[in-house]
C-alpha cells in the first residue's frame, strides 16, 4: 500500500537526512542541529509542566490508591504537523461549505424535510435514526444555526498519483472535544522552542476562546447586549473536564453543573451567592440524553428539569442545539456531498472517504467479500470503539464481526482502509513515522469562522490507525504556515 509522509517526500525514506518537503525544510534543518539529549530534556519538561498545570483527562471508573479518580496525561509530541498556507486555504473553504450545508440540513430535518421530499435521503434513514429528536420539530433557533461548534475529522491519504489528498472521515456535531489541547499544545511549543517561532510564520490560534464567545453570544435569544453565557459540564469526573473548565475560564464565563441551574416560568436561572441569575446561552458539554430529565433520560442528574420547555419557548439557547446527532451519524455521513449540492448548489470542496452502506444489498455483499481489506464501523459507534480494521484483525475477529454485521447490516458502514498519512514522532526507539489525523474546530454564529489549523492526533503504536486519546493516541501542535 502506498504511504504518504507529511515531512519526508519519499515514504520509503523517513530518516533524518532524507529528502524533505518544502514546507518542512526550515524545521528539518533546525531539528538536525538539536542533540538527542536536549530534545529528551524538553520532552521531560513538557510532561512535568502538563502534570503541574493539570492538563489531564480523567479516566472513568479508575481509582488510584488514595481513592481519587485517575487522571492521565495525553502524550504530547514535540514534532509539529506543518500545513502550507495554500492547502489550508482550500481546506478552510471546504470546511465552511460543509458545515454550512450540515446546518441547513439539520434545520430542514426539523422543519420542512425538503431533502426527504426530493428523494435524496430516504425518510427512514432520518426519522428512524436514534439521534433524530422529534422534540425539535418546528423549533426555531437564532440564525438557524444548530451546530455552533463542529469538529470535522480530516485525514490525508495518497491518491493514485501518490499525492496526499484530504478526506473528511467524520463530522462531530454534538459535543466535539479537544480544542483545549490544540491551544495548550501551542502554548507548550512556544514555551519550549521560542526560537522556532522566530524562524517560521506560524498562524496564531490563541484567539479561539474569543471567537467561541462571539459565536455563543450571537446565538442568544435575548435582545440584551450582554447575554449571560455559561458552560455546562457533567462535572470534574468527566474525561474532558479540564477542557470545560479551561474554556469557561478563557471566556470569563461561569462553569456550571446541572445542580446549579433551575427553571422557573420557562426561564433558566443559576443559583448564585446573590440570588438567582438568568442564563441566556448554555454551551453544553453534556449529551442530549442527559439534558432534561423531564424529556429525556429521567434518571439524569447532569441536566436541568424543564430546560427543554424553556428552550422550546425560545428563552434560552443550547449550543450545540438538541438533535444535531442526526447529521453526524455514520449512516448519514455518506449523504453529505449530496447535501452540499442540494442546499448550496455547489460541488463539494472536501471529499468524503468512499463509503459502502451495508443497508444496501450490493454494498453489503461487497463488504462481506472484502472484510479483510476494509474498515467497518458501527454507525452509532464513537471513540474508536465498535470498529473492525480488516488488515489488522485476526481471522477470528473478522468472523465475529461478520456475524454481527449479518445480524444487523443497516448498523454498519464500510470504507477502504486508508493509509493515513504519517508524521515523524518521538517514540521509545527514537523518531519514527506515526499515523495522524486533523480535527479543525469550525464555529458557526453570524458567520462561519475558525482559527487556522486544529488538533492533530497521532496514533503512537506502530502501524496503528486509531488516534483517539481513549485508545492511547497523542497530540501534536499543528502549524499553518502563513504565506
Amino acid at each position: 500500500m502506498q504511504q504518504f509522509d507529511e515531512m519526508y517526500s519519499q515514504a520509503s525514506a523517513t530518516q533524518p537526512g532524507s529528502p524533505v518537503r518544502a514546507h518542512y525544510q526550515a524545521y528539518a534543518e533546525w531539528l538536525a542541529g538539536q542533540s538527542d539529549n536536549s530534545m529528551l530534556a524538553r520532552r521531560e519538561e513538557a510532561e512535568m509542566i502538563f502534570r503541574r498545570v493539570g492538563i489531564t483527562f480523567a479516566v472513568y471508573g479508575d481509582k488510584d490508591e488514595s481513592g481519587s479518580g485517575t487522571e492521565r496525561l495525553i502524550p504530547f509530541d514535540l514534532i509539529p504537523r506543518i500545513i502550507p498556507a495554500h492547502e489550508w486555504q482550500s481546506m478552510e473553504r471546504g470546511l465552511v461549505q460543509r458545515v454550512t450545508a450540515l446546518n441547513r440540513f439539520i434545520h430542514d430535518v426539523y422543519h420542512d424535510q425538503e431533502i426527504i421530499k426530493a428523494g435524496i435521503i430516504p425518510a427512514d434513514q432520518i426519522l428512524n435514526n436514534a439521534q433524530f429528536r422529534p422534540e425539535m420539530m418546528g423549533v426555531d433557533v437564532p440564525h438557524q444555526i444548530y451546530s455552533h461548534i463542529s469538529g470535522i475529522d480530516i485525514v490525508r491519504a495518497p491518491n493514485a498519483q501518490g499525492e496526499g489528498e484530504y478526506y473528511v472521515l467524520e463530522d462531530n456535531l454534538r459535543v466535539p472535544s479537544g480544542v483545549s489541547y490544540m491551544l495548550e499544545d501551542r502554548k507548550m511549543m512556544m514555551r519550549l522552542f521560542p526560537e522556532l517561532f522566530s524562524r517560521h510564520r506560524v498562524a496564531p490560534v490563541a484567539h479561539y476562546p474569543d471567537l467561541l464567545l462571539e459565536t455563543l453570544r450571537a446565538s442568544s435569544p435575548a435582545s440584551s447586549a450582554e447575554p449571560t453565557v455559561v458552560v455546562l459540564t457533567p462535572g470534574m469526573y468527566n474525561s474532558a473536564y479540564f477542557e470545560h473548565a479551561f474554556l469557561a475560564q478563557q471566556m470569563g464565563v461561569e462553569l456550571v453543573e446541572g445542580q446549579d441551574l433551575f427553571v422557573k416560568d420557562q426561564f433558566v436561572y443559576m443559583r448564585t451567592t446573590r440570588g438567582p441569575k438568568r442564563v441566556d446561552v448554555i454551551y453544553r458539554r453534556v449529551d442530549d440524553d442527559f439534558l432534561d430529565p423531564k424529556v429525556f433520560r429521567p434518571t439524569s442528574t447532569l441536566g436541568c428539569a424543564g430546560l427543554m420547555e424553556a428552550y422550546r419557548a425560545g428563552n434560552v439557547a443550547i449550543c450545540n442545539a438538541v438533535g444535531t446527532g442526526v447529521a453526524d451519524d455514520k449512516s448519514i455521513y455518506p449523504y453529505v456531498p449530496k447535501m452540499i449540492e442540494f442546499y448550496l448548489g455547489e460541488k463539494p470542496i472536501l471529499n468524503n472517504v468512499p463509503t459502502f452502506m451495508c443497508r444496501k444489498p450490493d454494498d453489503l455483499a461487497y463488504t462481506l467479500a472484502n472484510l479483510k481489506d476494509l474498515v467497518v464501523k458501527e454507525v452509532h459507534g464513537a471513540g474508536g470503539y465498535g470498529m473492525l480494521v480488516g488488515p489488522a484483525a485476526t481471522k477470528a475477529e473478522i468472523e465475529d464481526f461478520r456475524a454481527a454485521l449479518m445480524a444487523n447490516p443497516s448498523g454498519y458502514i464500510a470504507q477502504p482502509t486508508l493509509s493515513l498519512s504519517s508524521c515523524p514522532t518521538y517514540v521509545e526507539s527514537g523518531v519514527a513515522p506515526r499515523h495522524i489525523d486533523l480535527r479543525p474546530f469550525v464555529l458557526s454564529g453570524r458567520t462561519v469562522q475558525m482559527v487556522p489549523g486544529g488538533l492533530t492526533r497521532v496514533a503512537l503504536k506502530e502501524g496503528s490507525l486509531v488516534v483517539n486519546s481513549s485508545q492511547g493516541g497523542g497530540t501534536k501542535d499543528t502549524w499553518i504556515l502563513q504565506a
Binding site: 503541574r52 488514595s66 481519587s68 462535572g235 473548565a245 461561569e254 436561572y269 451567592t273
Partner: protein
Amino acid sequence: MLSRTADHLFWMSRYTERAENTARMLNVSYETSLLPQSSATVQSGWEGLLSISELLPAYTQLHGEVTPRHVMHFMVIDPNNPSSIISCLRAARENARAVRGALTTEVWETQNQTWLEVNRMIRSGEFDADPGKFFEWVKFRSHLSRGVTVGTMLMDESLHFMRLGTFLERADNTARLVDVKFHAGQNDRFGALPVASPFQAQVMTSDVSLDGSQEFDFYHWSAILRSVSGFEIYRKVYRDVIRPDRVAELLILRPDMPRSLHASLNEVVNNLEAVTDNRQSETLRHAGKLRADLAYGRIDEILATGLHAYLTQFLERVNVLGGRISREFLMPQVG
C-alpha cells in the same frame, strides 16, 4: 457568583487551613515527645491531640493503644481518616480542581503541586525519615497557598469566600487547641465548675507554679505558643514569664495575634460584609455578635465562668455560623 463555586472555594481554603493546623499540632507533640518526661505525660499528649479533632474513638477502634507512631500515621497518611493531612490536602485539591477556572493559574498550580508533592514525599519515605521537616513543609505550602491567593486573585467575591473559609477554620482550630491543651495542662483547673468561682481563678492565675511543676508548665505553655507561632509574640506583648491566663488571653482575645479567635472573627466578619448587600443578614448578625463577645470580653471573666464551657460554646457558635453561611450563600434552596 455561582453558589457551588463559592462553596468549593470556601472548602478549599478550610481544608488547606486544617492541614496546616494539624501539622502544627503534630509537630509540637512530636517535638515535645522528645523532651525527658514521664510516659504518662507523653501518652496524654498524644491522646489530647486526637481529642482535639474528636478522633479518639475512631483511632482506638483502628489501632487500640495510643502510640506515637500510630497516631502520626493515622493523622498524616491514613486516607481513610477524613481529618488526616493527606485527606485534607486531597480535599483541598479536589475542591480547587472543581473550580479551577475560578482560580488564577498560580493558585491552581500551587494546590495541584502540593498534592502531587505530598504523595511523592509519603511514597519516597521522606515523611517517615524526618516528620519535623514534613510538618514544616505542610505549613510552608499553606503559607504559599494563602500568599498566592492574596497576591494574585481579583479582590472580588471569590477571594472573600476563600478568606472566609480560612478564618472560620482557624477560629475553630485554635479554639480546639486551647481547649484541649488547657485541659491537659491544668488538670482541669480551668475546667467549668458547676458554680464558677472567681476567687479560685484568681488564685490560680496569680501563681502558676503553686503545683510545683514549674518546669513542666514552661514547656507545656511554650509548646502551645509555638504551635501557633506565638512564642515570640507572647514575649513581645507581655515581656514577662509565661502564664496560662495570658496564653489564653493571647490566643482568645488579642485582636493583633493573627491566629487568635478575635483576629479570626474580625476577618470572618469583614469578608462576610463584603459578600452580602443584605444588612438584615442573619449570618452577618450572628458573626457580629460572636465578634463582639470577643472584642468586649475579659480573660478573668472567661476563666471565672470556666474556659472549657466557654470554648465549647464558642465552637458550637462557630459551627452554627458555618451552617448559616452554607444556607445563605453556598447552597441556597431556591427555585
